[in-house]
Structures are given as structure tokens and as C-alpha cells.
Amino acid sequence: MTATTTAPGSADTAAVRRAIADTVRPARPGRLSTALTFGWRGMLKVKHVPEQLLDVTVTPVMFLLLFTYLFGGAIAGSTSAYLDYTLPGLLVMSVLFTTVYSGVSLNTDLTKGVVDRFRSLPIWRPAPLLGSLLGDSVRYVVAGTVIIAVGVALGYRPDGGVGGALAALALVVVFSFGLSWVFSVLGLLMRSPNAVMNAGFMGIFPLTFLSNVFVDPATLPGPLEAFVEVNPISVLATASRSLMAGAPDGTAIAVSLAVAAALAAVFLPVTTRLYRSR
């Protein structure tokens, strides 16, 4: 058996004619139902291409192991103390990396021509974009859960307990919904899925390292410290840390949510406009 199937059955002209003769035209579905159908499509993709999930979870797990055992002692005095500090940040990193894939899969759809099919159907126009959020959210939750699980396996015990961990995960997922629109715009502007991936990581990678995910900014030189303090990823990591610790930092949580809302407010309309006109 080869991967490609050739010379299978033939079209049966009589059956094609019978199929065409059936002119049943169902009532148009509602907006929610249409978006949910696209959500189902997103789920099917996760099911058919689980490697994608592997891609996005392996890198953060690798960082978790590397940093904890290689630098943990040097940075925080002991590996367990460092795990306490860095795990909530790695949760942020892990889920944010996943958002790049929203842009990658949108670009894949465009280059393959399936978007032309969607755009020629009599459906609510934002439905494909909103529906894909559903598939995305599964990816976010899996990526976040994996990193927390690995942390727990290595001895991480958040003071906030299960509730704190879930709250942190929920916050990071909500932030990712906002950020994903940035990558959707990239996905609509760039030529190939690979270009989107490269550009996406070129942005998110340094931003993640120039945050407080791995080190306490107090140890950094002045200008760098200033940047790290205002980096939204630091704020989100601080918020995530506070929730995991069972002592929610209201300001950090509010700022994180506001940044997410602002990103969505700016990039969601750009996405829908580009999606219509491309």
C-alpha cells in the first residue's frame, strides 16, 4: 500500500444525475450553529493531526527540564524553589506558543483553497474565524495541562491548589484568545504557513525570554529591567504565579485581561476585513 490512492472507482453518471435531481434545500442554519460546525472542524483537525499538539508541548517541557535542573540551583538556590518560581511562567510560555498555530492553520487554509469554498457558501461570514477558536482552545488547554502535569510529577505543589492552577490556566487561555488574533493577521498577510511560524516565533520567543518567566527582573541591568517590567508577558506570568500561589494579584490579572481585550479589539476587526478581501 502506498500513501496515495490512484485509479479507484469511477463516477457513476446515472447516480450523479439522481443526486442532482434531489433539490431539497434545507433552511439556513443559525449563526451559533454555523460557528459550532466550524468548531467541530477544528476538533477533527486536532484528532487527525495530534502531532501538532506534540510540537507545541515538547518545547516548553524541554525548557522546564533544562532550566530547572541546569540553572535552577544557580538562579533560585534549589531546583524545587526554582520550580515554584518558573512553572506558572512556563504555563504562560507553553500556551502562548500554541497561539502561533492559529495563524499557521489559517494560512494553511488560505494556501489550500478551502477558504474559497467557505467564502462562497451562504453562511454567516465571521463563523469560520470564530469557530476555529473552539479547536484552538482545546490546544491551549492541552498545552497548559501538560506543563502543569509535568511540573506536578517533578514535585511542584502550588499553594493555591487545584483551584489556583485551574484559575491560572483559565486566565492564560483567555489571554491567548486575544493574542491569537495577532497571529491570525500574520496568517492572512504572509505567503506560507512556514513563514507565519517563523515570524510568529521570532516575535514570541524573545518576548518570552525578556520577561520574568525565567528570572526575577530585579537581577537585571536597569534598562532591561524596565522593559521586562512592562512586558505584558511578565504581567501575565505574575498574574498566573499569584493565582497558583493562592494569593491573586488583582492588578496583574486586570492588566492581563485588559491587554487581551485591547489586542482583540484591534486585531479582530483587521482579521475579519482581511479574511473577506483576500
Partner: protein
């Protein structure tokens, strides 16, 4: 089905530019309902852009078009409800299975889950891809994808189907299957707008053809009219007795036109623009007592038509490759 207007597509002065490229520079089209109408032109002529404007995927810069009586800009949603598009790149989802693709379209068009599944299975069977239904489409051959793509276009039977280069990159067997499907659609009363670079395809399928080059329609008519408008055809005659060829040549030269002797010693042909003259020529041979084994009347090929109209040659149908088209 509701009554259709006499013209399924009526476009006037359509224009679309991308930066400095005038992809479509003033296209008029009048496509009768129920016909297969061919838009024939070389790569880059503006076929896809024209289809995308008519299928409401892009708005024209200038001009207007009505599809099945609805304006493509002001009533784009109504147009989308009546037409289907089979794009130049197969418009199917490669990361889903064949069945999932059709169920997805069925659900989006309002079928309930069970009805969408039943329709998907009916179409997979009719299009000869039922065996591969559960496999991801990225593992399917080009011909199978094309058929799935057309199947997706008739999940809910449309009144008009846009087919954009449906056989580009297909092997001859798959191409013939796509042609059969297009004919079946037309026989059921569906209007088809067919874009193609292949003269043979337009000749095989289309009732009317618009020849398009550099964003403009440069000729229009039935395949026969287009051929008649350029050059002449020829009358080929095969004789029972090769020994009487010289006599036959004299008769045809007088009754029809310039005679060419063919390599076959029993055959000759005469330049001939219309069938009536040809009939006279064959009659004259009979009167002179020259026995005729057979005869035929050739029209000029669409290749010659295209060359005469545009001054350059159109591309030929590749003789069979399963390669993915480059776009």
C-alpha cells in the same frame, strides 16, 4: 425549482486590478440559463479573477454583474445561496476525510447531522470515491480530489456551478470522468460557467464560448461560429480506386477549391469553408463515376482560432500527469 431568468449571468464592463496588474479590463458576458458556457483563455488571462467576482469572493473595481437575477455586490448573499464554486485549487479540506468534507458542507448549508451524513454517502458513492471516504483527503489522488470538490459543490443542488480549470493537472482518464460529471450536471438543468485553458475542453463541453485574453473578451460565439470565423476547413475524400485520383482532383478543384493530394494514394482533400459546397463536390464525383469509399469535413481546430484571434498560441493539454498544479 423556481423559474430562472433567461440569462443566468449578465456582466457588463467588469474590471479588477491588483496594483498595476489589470487582471480584468472590462469583461462583458451573457450566459444563457441551462447552458455550459466556456471562458477560454491562456494562463493569466483573467479567468479566475472573473469567476471570483461572479461568485462574490471579490468585489469588482468597476462594472456590474447579475447572477441568476441578483447583483453580485448588493445581493451577494442571495447569489451565494444559489451558486457553487469549484475553485482552481481544489476547495476541499486536506486535513479532513472525504466524508467529513461533505458532512461539513452539508451542516453549513443547514442539513441536520443525519441528513448531512446520508447526503455525503450518496455523493461519495455516485462520484466513485466511497472506498476512500474515511481517509484524509491529503492522501487522495488529484482526480479523486477534483471529484470530491465537485461533489461538495452539489451537496445542496445549486442552480449554477462555477468550474475553474476542473481538469488542469489531471490524467486523461480522470479528465474524462470530470467531463462526464459536467455533462450530467448540465443535463439536469444546472448552468455551468467553465474556465479553461484547453481548447479541446471548451470544444467538448461548451455550448457557447467567450475567448478571453489579457482581461478582455476578444471573441464570442458557439464553437462552430468561432471556427467558421477564421480560416477554412477541408473536405477529405478516400477513393475506391487510387488510379482515378487525378480525375477526382480535377472534379474537386472545379467544384470545391484548392486540392491537396494526401500521402495515402487513394486520398485527397480540398479547401472548403462550408458543408454545402462539400456536398456538391461529393455529388460531382458521383456524377463523374468516381467511386468514393468515404469522406469527411474537417473544421479548423480551436488552436487555429486562438492563434488567429490573439496572435499567440494557447497552451496544450498535458498528456497525463498526476502532479499537483502549481496554482
Amino acid at each position: 425549482m423556481t423559474a430562472q431568468p433567461a440569462l443566468a449571468i449578465e456582466a457588463v464592463g467588469l474590471e479588477k486590478s491588483f496594483g498595476d496588474t489589470r487582471a480584468v479590463a472590462g469583461v462583458d458576458l451573457a450566459v444563457p440559463a441551462g447552458a455550459i458556457y466556456g471562458v477560454l483563455g491562456p494562463n493569466g488571462a483573467g479567468k479566475t479573477t472573473t469567476i471570483r467576482m461572479l461568485a462574490t469572493l471579490v468585489e469588482p473595481d468597476a462594472g456590474s454583474a447579475r447572477v441568476l437575477g441578483h447583483d453580485v455586490v448588493a445581493e451577494s448573499d442571495a447569489v451565494r445561496g444559489l451558486v457553487s464554486l469549484t475553485g482552481q485549487l481544489a476547495s476541499v479540506d486536506e486535513e479532513l476525510t472525504g466524508r467529513e468534507n461533505l458532512v461539513l458542507v452539508g451542516r453549513l448549508l443547514g442539513h441536520r447531522r443525519a441528513a448531512a451524513r446520508a447526503r455525503a454517502d450518496e455523493l461519495l458513492e455516485a462520484f466513485g470515491v466511497a472506498d476512500a471516504a474515511g481517509r484524509l483527503v491529503k492522501h487522495w489522488s488529484g482526480g479523486m480530489r477534483r471529484r470530491l470538490d465537485i461533489a461538495a459543490s452539489i451537496v445542496v443542488t445549486p442552480q449554477l456551478v462555477f468550474l475553474d480549470e476542473p481538469t488542469t493537472g489531471l490524467d486523461p482518464r480522470s479528465r474524462n470522468q470530470v467531463w462526464e460529471i459536467a455533462r450530467a450536471l448540465a443535463a439536469a438543468g444546472t448552468t455551468i460557467l467553465l474556465c479553461t485553458q484547453y481548447l479541446e475542453e471548451a470544444d467538448q463541453l461548451a455550448d457557447g464560448i467567450a475567448v478571453i485574453d489579457r482581461g478582455r473578451v476578444i471573441a464570442e460565439g458557439t464553437p462552430g461560429q468561432l471556427k467558421a470565423s477564421v480560416g477554412t476547413g477541408s473536405l477529405h475524400v478516400r477513393l475506391l480506386d487510387p488510379g482515378r485520383r487525378a480525375e477526382a482532383a480535377r472534379v474537386l478543384e472545379a467544384a470545391v477549391g484548392t486540392v491537396v493530394l494526401e500521402p495515402d494514394p487513394a486520398a485527397l482533400s480540398a479547401a472548403c469553408a462550408d458543408a454545402e459546397r462539400a456536398a456538391v463536390g461529393v455529388g460531382e464525383l458521383g456524377r463523374a463515376g468516381v467511386g468514393v469509399a468515404g469522406f469527411s469535413l474537417d473544421q479548423p481546430s480551436l488552436d487555429e482560432v486562438f492563434l488567429a484571434l490573439t496572435g499567440h498560441v494557447a497552451e496544450q493539454q498535458p498528456s497525463g500527469t498526476l502532479e499537483e498544479q502549481a496554482s
